[in-house]
Subunit: 125 residues, 2 copies
DNA sequence: CTCACTAATGCAACAATGTTGCAATAATAA
DNA sequence: TTATTATTGCAACATTGTTGCATTAGTGAG
């Protein structure tokens, strides 16, 4: 199934590229102001993940956030870093720190989803 | 506001105490087979968290899981451990391993929500 | 034990996030 | 220019969770 280049995809990819923080569907919808349907945004984001352009991080605020893959190789993706969500400005960031968790014997890890929430430097109290 | 002792609460607390894994609302509802309303289960679980009996862990499967507080002191709760979810048998466990994440300068942490998903020892492939 | 107070429950309705079916639209390649 | 079909928009739906409100039932006082 060959991909096509559409305005919605271009706009969303541009947003992700220019944004310093990861984005959720509702953030994108707001900024697009009706340029694309709610469902289209979800579908575009899912496609980006399938294609290895972005990774999805499921937050404890009940939403999924999407961040560009930066250090991933074409066929080797690794998203085992921590994520940070500022409870004040809602910014979501991929942290440098890698997740290192030792599992009980016999367990094997497929995926990691690690969040720290709190105040970012700008929102510090 | 003084708490009262009701059958629903007793049943849910008993389930949590006897279960080796953390439980979600739907798991509890299934096992209770109509003994308690959906909403009641949610309210009981929230009350348990307020009272420091359990802690809530929000999973990347879109559900909240609830686990008894074991090592927490009355007025000092610490839930900064990893959690594991088996993608095959759905079991959710609190792991021993503590989360240690170093944040960027100026950031402060309020809460931590860390998951590893994969196969547990019983479901190993 | 009886009673009054009100915490807890059940039900209906709602909110938020996300997915699916289907007809219409529009990229793309021939 | 045209045919093919990926992508879109809309409506409907699924899941998880919360809220309002009338009813039920713990609990402590008398
Ligand atoms: Mn990647
Ligand atoms: Mn605790
Ligand atoms: Zn902030
Ligand atoms: Zn398992």
């Amino acid at each position: 199934m060959k991909r096509r280049n559409t305005p919605a995809q271009q706009a969303i990819l541009a947003m992700l590229k220019s944004s310093p923080s990861a984005l959720s569907q509702d953030m994108i919808e707001q900024q697009l102001k009706g340029e694309a349907d709610r469902v289209t945004i979800y579908r575009v984001l899912n496609r980006f993940c399938e294609d290895g352009l972005t990774h999805r991080i499921v937050s404890d605020d009940g939403k999924s956030y999407f961040a560009l893959c930066k250090k991933c190789e074409k066929h080797h993706h690794a998203h085992d870093h921590f994520h940070f969500r500022c409870v004040h400005c809602q910014k979501v960031e991929c942290l440098e720190e890698e997740v290192k968790a030792s599992l009980p014997a016999g367990y094997s890890a497929l995926n990691v989803n690690c969040w720290v929430s709190g105040y970012c430097a700008e929102c510090r109290v």
